[in-house]
Symmetry: none
Subunit: 252 residues, 2 copies
Amino acid sequence: MFSPVESRRLYRQVADQIRLMIASGELAVGQRLPAERDLAEQLSVSRPTVREALIVLEVEGLVNIRMGSGIYVVRQHAATVTGAEREPVEGAFELLQARALIECAIAEEAAGRATPDDIALLDETLTRMGGVVNDAIAVLDADRAFHTGIAAIVGNATLIRVTGEIFDMRMTPYFARLASHFEGPTTWRSALDEHRAIRDAIAAGDAAGAKAAMRAHLTMSQKRFSESFGEEFSEEEERGRDKRPAKGTTKT
Amino acid sequence: MFSPVESRRLYRQVADQIRLMIASGELAVGQRLPAERDLAEQLSVSRPTVREALIVLEVEGLVNIRMGSGIYVVRQHAATVTGAEREPVEGAFELLQARALIECAIAEEAAGRATPDDIALLDETLTRMGGVVNDAIAVLDADRAFHTGIAAIVGNATLIRVTGEIFDMRMTPYFARLASHFEGPTTWRSALDEHRAIRDAIAAGDAAGAKAAMRAHLTMSQKRFSESFGEEFSEEEERGRDKRPAKGTTKT
DNA sequence: ATGCCTGAATTGGTCAGGCCAGTTGACCAG
DNA sequence: CTGGTCAACTGGCCTGACCAATTCAGGCAT
């Protein structure tokens, strides 16, 4: 049907092909791939192209490249596709479910550790968020700061990082385009209220309440999302054209 | 003492450097990067190296490469800046703490959803792990498969991905060097026993038990780790011992 | 026979230079 | 002023080469 012409880039095609071979089991986990030179010959492309494709797979965590030794299949879970051909809607729900599981646990933990300084930092992000509900970019940044701020209360850099990364997963082109349809000052204000509830529970040291508030927040996010795109979802599938060639051009 | 050799591949270093420039705001969102040829000259590396680095950043979603036009910053991902210079010991404890928080929640959720097929898959990884406790690479793979397998029970691709990514964080050169000192058939057999306890709790549908078993497993992992490297750490590090990362003191 | 050591073969990492194709914007004919 | 053309970028891909790390077979001393 609608095939993005973007697929022209050769190293992407090569990466897809190798990824497919891994997913199908043709290349078993732990197995060593043919040498770059051999792959280039078999695929009728040059070695730099093969290298670029392998680097893509390495960043995705599918293979492990060991200098002087070879390239080894680490895992075959094709589930880690980088938004290439993922249903944006399913991806969105999955994302929110994953966030609910992880961030509820973090909020629960944070409630038992928060210091007044921590709460002050959260309050700072809340006031900032309240002042920029009309700025789609700034409000998103404040939203992110609130969620990573809760992770920061636990005092674990890994948790902060993971929280931020999961949050950023919504930044895929698909998701961003869908989000632009339902994100607005009204929905952001609702989110802000839910943020305040989370903040209050954490400030009160109420672990169960913080967990519940976080779950409610992410559940409501999911609800807002599903309700809003229901109407817009007739033919919004096509790739973004001249509407938004680059980010932030029309927003500020 | 010995320099970690840090034979990091050049294109990774270049990617880190550009990522840093993006994170610091030196390269603003929406801005176009210098041309590949110019970047190569400024960084004193060849163009293929620059290309490989940019492909890494593109896969990570930081930049958008548009053929014939240029390379544009999509977003700044400040959370990943910490990767380069991290204390290995603190990092290890942090990692296990983060895993405890996240994977306990996942195990809890999985216990309520597991089907006999899911359990069969877990059992497969357990038997596989039992057969390769002497193979440092294979056993690690089986270990990973068990933990991601639990995430798979929940049926959420994002959770699987996150679990795998956090697991893989231990694959840094620092961590790998430390791990080689304490990982062995004995410790792996202990881990396997703990895995079985988790599996049994999930199979029984015991959410609280699964959570507790997972927490016990990761706590024991931490214990094994800290005990084993205690001897090796005569003069190498000192502040790593008394962990307890102070709350709120988000490092600069 | 055993174990250590060496060196060649293999493999990934990097470089240099070049050509092609798409993008962009200025320039010129209408 | 409008429309179309063209030349200067820019990324995409290729060839060929050399360097560095890994691996393993074969030779040496024990």
